[in-house]
């Protein structure tokens, strides 16, 4: 930068990251699962979290949706809310609840075990949030849900109950249920880990397509091939810290940290 350049002003809202997480910490009793996690997610970006089980990656993801509450650290969503967890813990419970709801308002979660509502049909599962929470008129919610189901190839299943679907179909409905909320941020918690291997592809394809369409997402997964193709940034977590981060290219072909290398080796060459 030359001295004649103007001092840059605060970045404009369009350039601010959608999400900034700073110093997230969380302990379950004696067990420290998060020990200071920092990362950013820019609009339209796909951030993939990888790491061994117990590394804290799922706790990070669940914190973004208010399903876990970190003990300390700051979550700053552009457009709100901005949550300082250490301060929140000292404040009134009511305020904490408001912040949690505001957080959920911005994001939507796809679970490992889909967690579809078994007593509702596919269509009812998808419109439950829009109609019951967001007060979208039912006719409009049904039209939008049908269009979304059509996009993932499940339009003809709209009146089926979840138990009548295959695992891959159930998870695609889980994704549509999240999309129907029109969140700014999509969260995926090991979306294919509970699936039979031959059903993994159809779900990953849907997620990859959403990424291409520009949805902002944070994905916890063990599917390294997916991470390699779809991620803008990969974070490797271990022991509650981000050990290494970078583009898939950097992380998978030239990992800098020994722990990253060992983890990748274990997954890519399990028999060695």
């Amino acid at each position: 930068m030359s001295p004649t350049d103007p001092v840059p002003a605060d970045p404009s809202p369009a350039e601010r990251p959608l999400l900034t997480a700073t110093g997230l910490r969380k302990a379950f009793g004696e067990n420290e699962v998060l020990r200071g996690i920092d990362f950013e997610v820019r609009r339209g970006e796909v951030v993939v979290l990888i790491g061994p089980s117990g590394s804290g990656k799922t706790t990070v993801l669940r914190s973004l949706n208010g399903l876990e509450t970190p003990d300390a650290g700051v979550l700053d969503l552009d457009g709100g809310p901005v949550i300082d967890f250490a301060a929140q813990a000292l404040g009134p419970a009511k305020a904490a609840k408001q912040q949690r709801l505001a957080l959920r308002d911005r994001s939507a979660m796809v679970f490992q075990h889909h967690n579809l509502f078994p007593h509702l049909t596919v269509l009812e599962n998808v419109i439950e949030g829009p109609v019951q929470v967001q007060r979208v008129p039912k006719a409009r919610a049904v039209a939008e849900a049908t269009a979304l189901l059509d996009r993932v190839g499940l339009a003809e299943k709209r009146d089926a109950y979840p138990f009548e679907l295959s695992g891959g179909q159930q998870q695609r409905v889980g994704i549509v249920r999240a999309l129907a909320l029109k969140p700014d941020l999509l969260l995926f918690d090991e979306p294919t880990s509970a699936l039979d291997p031959e059903l993994v592809g159809e779900v990953l394809q849907v997620i990859a397509e959403l990424a291409r369409e520009g949805w902002t997402m944070v994905v916890v997964t063990h599917e390294l091939a997916f991470a390699r193709q779809a991620a803008d940034e990969v974070l490797f977590l271990d022991g509650g810290v981000v050990v290494e981060r970078g583009t898939p290219q950097e992380l998978f072909t030239a990992p800098r940290e020994e722990r990253t290398r060992r983890f990748l080796d274990r997954i890519l060459r399990p028999l060695d």
């Binding site: 939507a108 979660m109 967690n115 509502f117």
Partner: protein
Amino acid sequence: MADGWQLFLDSFWPIVWGAVSGTIPLALASFAIGLVLALGVALMRLSRNRVVSGIARVYISIIRGTPLLVQLFVIFYGLPAIGVVIDPWPSAIAAFSLNVGGYAAEIIRAAILSVPKGQWEAGYTIGMSHAKTLRRIILPQAARVSVPPLSNSFISLVKDTSLASLILVTELFKVSQQIAAFSQEFMLLYLEAALVYWIICLALSSGQSALERRLDRYVAH
């Protein structure tokens, strides 16, 4: 023998009328009120507030730890001693409702706990409050689980209403007793009363099966 058959026929409709005007409305009213009470007590019992869950715990303990007949007598014969006089019907409904409230609360609590935690989280993640998740997601699933044990409670209640005859409520068993005393045919009349109770419970059992089939439409078989 012919006389016995004639007495059976003559007494049959009065006894059935005792069921229709006494036993069945008493059981229905008590069960309906008892279920509302039970849901409230179950939610109190699940509350994180120790005082609230403690109150529910004590209530359940008293109801389950004392005989229904004693509860009935406390309300009808006991309360007047402290100036509270309640008519036979309201006394019976109060006692049976409180009883159902205690037992069904534990059934409903267990049913709520049987719904996987992921269902609560799925409700929260689509933006629902705790209360709304409970109402729209958890209770419909808990209802399915609790139908068989609650049906058993209802069938027990129908039979337990015979105790109301001891506090002057005219119902199925009271009618049988009166005819038995008058005719001195105790064996015949009490067997006849048993038969009518059995028929009612058979009908309830088949109703239970139909309800379970309806609620099972969304689960794999």
